[in-house]
Amino acid sequence: MKIQISDMRYAERMARLTARKIEQTKEKQAKLGARDEDDYGLVLPPASFKVDLPVRDATGQWSGPRSWAANFRWLMENHPCYIDPDDAIAGRWMFMLSRMRLGYQLSRSNFAFDYSHLEPEQKKYDITTGIGKDAHFAPDYKIGLEPGWGGLLEKVRTARRQFAADAYAVELMEAEEQAILGVMEWTRRLAAAAGDRAMTEDDAVRRDNLVEMARICYKIVESKPETFREVVQWLAIFNMASRTYNRDGAGGQLDELLRPYYECDKAAGVLTDEDAEFQVFCLLLNDPHYYQIGGPSADGKDQTSRMSYIILEAAAKLKSSCNLTIRVWDGMDRGLFRRGVEILLANRLGYPRFSGDKALVEGFMKNGYSAALARSRIAVGCNWMSLPGLEYTLNDVVKINIAKVLEVAFAESNSLEELEANYRKHFKAAVDVTAKGIDFHLAHQYLNEPELMLNLLSHGPIEKGKDISHGGAMYYNMAIDGAGLAVVADSFGAIEERVVKEKTLSFAEVKAAVAANFAGEEGERVRMLLDSAGRYGAGGTAADRWAVKLTDILNGEIANHTTPDGFKLIPGWFTWADTLRFGRAVGATPNGRKAGEPISHGANPLPGFRKDGALTAMATAIASVQPGYGNTAPWQLEVDIGLADDEDAVEKVMALIDGHFKMGGTLVNINVVDAETILAAHKDPSKYPDLVVRVTGFTAYFNSLSPDFRQLVVKRLVREAV
């Protein structure tokens, strides 16, 4: 199935909307500076707008349901109303409440409870603890779409009465009520703003659009959305409110969410494919939430529909940051896969991404879950899968820097055997303290920062009167990712090759050189020998075997293990955008890496892993280190200019992805590199405000990345492209 949609009127509106987004991105960059994370969809508030939250203690903090609710309601009630007469959707979001606490850091959340007893060990292994981290699991939009805000309000009021004897539950339900009232009030004000704007609009098309926008917003303040456009607006309102609350960016299976409304409106003759595409375009422009399309339903039938194609075409026209994943599986409509690859190669914007159903389903089932649940666990985050509305996970926010674990082990070792034994010992200790941290988070987060928005769209929190982080969820599958795989595998491999097999170096020589950060001529000689040893990714090297062994060690301590309090753990390999931060924490390593240099990216081999840089070799290596329990070890692939220009590039990329998934791969993120553009943008980022690159699992404006980070992306892309 292939659809052709063309409507000049919409084309012009899309062009104007895109141009404004680029303008807004420029303004954001000028005001906020560089940010190494997703673009998000936020715009700047008017300069005159002052945030004056009602609840803050002397240190600029707040915690607990009541305080969060009061601040959130204030923010929603005062939130500026952004209206664009070209847009199908009213509103843009502008603030992140969770970042308004004094001293906020991306790498370390504000937390109202003392965990200093865990900190020495956490620091020792450079653990990213996840303590106090929010969101990173997925809502089930249907829970909100069916009753609407009015129905949700009724639901929490009923629950509050039901839990009258439980003081926390009452406070939580009252907080939920405040959150809903805040969102309703903002929606009402958006409606009024759209109506006001319509009064002064001269263009008839825009005026009609604004009137319809106002009608929809008024309706969905309380009533459930019924038409396609009403649903799109409702989803955007939830997304924006949830972003404003705590940056949550998980979406859902967008094609299946929208399909019933699309089919109904089409049958009623009130919606064309052009309308649907434009409205989806606006939803994707509004915020780059993570959505999946295609893939199997819970009962194993292909979910690809006309709606899937419309979403894909809307994304293709977006030409902006977008996080759309196509699930690749045996029973799929290959046309969707092909069209996805075509768009990826033609637009060169890093999307869509592709997830591998087979390994994800088989892997998740190894945790004791059914095939139906495993199929429903979809791509809704940077590197992660989640069961919408059913699961609490701390996905992508709990990491063990195994390069740091290696550093600790190496300092105590005098042979390869000792190093392996010490690595195992310290890795276990690192997992232990990480698991204790997860327990600590789960024991206190509901008092620190309850998930007021995501609770509403989850099965359990309202029904049980418990925050999702504290008993409200149906399932707890707590993610722990290892970071730095290639650095550690190459370190073990280099020692095995140079010290044990060839005996060109002694362990003591390596140790001395590493301790001195490879200083001096002798240090450089040792470094070159270590650096030139066979790498992980080359195929058949000692480092390749170590990478698999490190995965076994990861699984051995995490898979089918629980925290001391009994919460299930699931392993993955992923660094997120933190290769620089992790690297700064680690001294020189025996793979010839100097102190402070970045660690390796996700499950990727280090650049230069083979002279030919073979993509097939990379795909094979990354497939070989999949932990295989339903969480991912993504492959970050840079397709060089040569391959993308090939006469059969689409087939080649499809073949690569197919092969990788066949061998057990879980997620592929692809950047199509245009080396000249990247180099030019690096020279003067302001000239390329719309240049989007895939950083890790997410796409970001190149211009928004910090200089350090740009340097890293340039190095990786250009090196592999020329």
């Binding site: 083979r610 030919d612 220009d645 090939d646």
Partner: protein, 279 residues
């Protein structure tokens, strides 16, 4: 059995269809004056004179196949396989045959990238285990061919006709060097030759480039005097298109432009996509 291999590249997308593992066998009977892999010419293992690089190492069939097998999943997902190249792979005819047989027995698609200069018996035996011949056609004029490559082209042309007569699938590759083998009469002769073949699937033009010149000094050789110092330009490549023909079956012959013996497609490739010659 062992042979001298000077490189194995995985994930190659230019030496035949799909993703391929190219096995480079050392040694070549020709001395093309434009050769940009001069280090591949001698059948012996060689040491560079200006660096500590070594060209060539002894490998067994098993060792090569262990490497080739690594990408098996991608051969089946992309229609790829193993390509024997060089140098001239038939210089090590026993080893090349053993490799091709081993791959063939495992169901791996085998392409043989050859200059065609070997006794017919070598190719005759290969027919059973090679799925695709990547056959170099450099010049139809015998005297000129001798001057440019050091060898007569009679054997090459007779082998090509025999391979075609045997029904083997072939892609023709023409390394063209401005001023050396690209006169109008050269091109017309090439075209006529290709018209006479029944099983040619594709014609690839490999324009001359100068990237290999620095390797001459590295491996202690002199650059042949007649080699043009500048690479082919777009005007040359446009003119060369006339060798592209419809195959006798009436099928359009695909016409990608590759830089000579490298994986990098020439940037101007899309310029030729409008004339309907692409399949």
């Amino acid at each position: 059995m062992k042979g001298i291999v000077f490189d194995i590249k995985r994930g190659v997308t230019k030496d035949g269809p799909g993703f391929r593992t190219s096995v480079f066998l050392k040694g070549c009977p020709l001395r093309c004056i434009w050769c940009h892999n001069p280090e591949s010419q001698s059948p012996e293992i060689e040491h560079a004179v200006t660096t500590d690089e070594v060209c060539g190492r002894e490998m067994s069939v098993k060792e090569v196949m262990d490497e080739v097998r690594r990408d098996k999943v991608f051969y089946s997902s992309s229609g790829g396989g193993m390509t024997l190249t060089g140098g001239e792979p038939t210089m090590q005819s026993e080893f090349a045959f053993a490799l091709a047989s081993a791959a063939h027995d495992e169901g791996i698609h085998v392409a043989l990238d050859t200059c065609g200069f070997a006794p017919w018996a070598v190719f005759e035996r290969m027919l059973a285990v090679v799925d695709l011949f990547l056959y170099d056609l450099k010049c139809m004029d015998a005297a000129k061919h001798r001057k440019l490559t050091g060898a007569d082209n009679a054997l090459i042309l007779s082998n090509l006709n025999s391979i075609d007569a045997a029904g083997a699938k072939t892609w023709i590759r023409c390394p063209l060097v401005p001023g050396l083998n690209d006169s109008d009469s050269d091109l017309a002769a090439l075209r006529d030759c290709m018209r006479s073949l029944r099983h040619v699937d594709k014609v690839e033009i490999c324009p001359y480039h100068t990237l290999g010149l620095e390797k001459y000094a590295k491996f202690g050789r002199k650059i042949p005097a007649a080699v043009p110092p500048v690479p082919a330009d777009i005007a040359d490549i446009k003119r060369w298109r006339q060798i592209c023909v419809l195959s006798p079956s009436g099928r359009k012959v695909a016409f990608p432009v590759h830089s000579m013996h490298t994986q990098t497609p020439i940037r101007c490739m899309h310029e030729f996509q409008s004339d309907g010659l692409d399949s």
